[in-house]
């Protein structure tokens, strides 16, 4: 931003404050990234000094924030059209698109280089790939092209626990892949359950959403399919190094309930759903949040128990 534009913005009281730059980094997404990356790090069989672990999680979070800023830069046209996103800093006119781009690129570079210096090059490479995947593959290429955009975007959100694992171990293994799979398979039923009761204005922004392109009945079917595929991934993790009786018991109950909810969604038609104000869809969506949080919470608990010599198989 030049001084002249700053002056213009300042004179109308719209100049971006520090909080606007924080908002640019999607702090709510960052908090999920911090949580899952931390669990990935804690669940790993190699311990990491606390300072290095803290720095690693911080730089992973900054990498996620950089992705958020780049996403807001590219999607400013979409965000402007949709009610839910119109108040974001770029469409609201508080931050110029070029500034969001600059901040995103700079923070991406800083986070990747610092993660590499603090931990190892594999973790840094994974973080760089995640940012590239989220921006180039998802945001720029496929988001506006296919109704499977949620599935593809979910992959970017699934990388953090894998990076956390790599920070500690320097490589990937079946446990890291299963943690990735857990978030990857969870994202579509979670988001599509929301899409069923939130009449969003994606069509106005010309973003293909499954509910619009393939209809709501198909969306209900896809929710069930992805939930069925999610179950073996979530349960399977319980039999690996990161699992244990506590996780397996939690996963058993949570997956049975999630599967029941997905089955109910599939069985309903629009008339029934509208009649009760999408009660089942709303309940499944809320439950899906607990589902993911409790799975990763159980993995963290198993890691804690193992450290105390009690957890695992």
């Amino acid at each position: 931003m030049t001084d002249a534009t700053a002056h213009t913005l300042a004179s109308r009281g719209g100049e971006a404050q520090f909080g606007d730059y924080v908002a640019l980094m999607k702090p709510r997404v960052m908090s999920l990234v911090v949580f899952t990356a931390l669990v990935g790090l804690l669940a790993a069989p190699v311990s990491v000094p606390p300072m290095i672990g803290f720095a690693a999680i911080l730089f992973i979070a900054i990498g996620a924030g950089a992705s958020g800023a780049l996403n807001m830069w590219y999607d400013a046209d979409i965000d402007r059209v949709m009610k839910r996103t119109a108040r974001r800093p770029v469409p609201a006119g508080k931050i110029e698109p070029g500034e969001a781009l600059g901040l995103g690129v700079a923070l991406s570079a800083i986070s990747v280089v610092m993660l590499g210096l603090a931990t190892n090059l594999v973790a840094a490479g994974f973080l760089a790939f995640t940012i590239f995947f989220y921006i180039a593959i998802y945001t720029i290429w496929l988001k506006r092209l296919t109704p499977q955009n949620i599935v593809i975007g979910g992959a970017a959100g699934a990388f953090p626990p894998m990076i956390g694992w790599t920070v500690a171990t320097g490589g990937i293994s079946i446990e890291a892949v299963l943690m990735f799979g857990l978030i990857f398979m969870w994202t579509p039923p979670h988001f599509w359950a929301l899409a069923l009761f939130m009449k969003s204005d994606y069509h106005k922004a010309r973003v293909p959403m499954l509910t619009v392109t393939h209809g709501r009945a198909e969306t209900r079917k896809q929710i069930l399919i992805y939930t069925v595929l999610l179950v073996p991934v979530a349960i399977g993790a319980g039999f690996t190094l990161i699992g244990g009786p506590v996780y397996l018991a939690a996963a058993g109950i949570l997956n049975a309930l999630f599967l029941k909810g997905a089955w109910q969604i599939w069985h309903r038609d629009e008339v029934t759903a509208e009649a009760d104000g999408y009660a089942v869809e709303k309940r499944v969506f809320r439950f899906s949040l607990f589902y993911l949080f409790l799975h990763f919470g159980a993995l963290a608990l198993e890691a804690g128990l193992r450290a105390a010599g009690m957890g695992g198989w």
Partner: protein, 62 residues
């Protein structure tokens, strides 16, 4: 009388400037903390500033 003129922009940007300053201080603290953690871990302490590098010094004969 101050030698610089305080403009409205300075007031508007105060919060932002303090935020940036805190970020920079935080970054310095993290780099310092990482350095200490790495040294405690036994990472290579060979520096490149004004000292002979042991790893590339040829072994003395005799």
């Amino acid at each position: 009388m101050p030698i610089t003129k305080v403009h409205d922009i300075h007031k508007h940007r105060l919060g932002r400037n303090i935020g940036v300053a805190l970020c920079l201080v935080g970054f310095m603290a993290i780099v310092f903390g990482l350095t200490i953690a790495k040294i405690r871990q036994g990472a290579s302490m060979e520096a490149f500033d004004h000292q002979p590098r042991v790893s590339i010094t040829p072994p003395e004969e005799g």
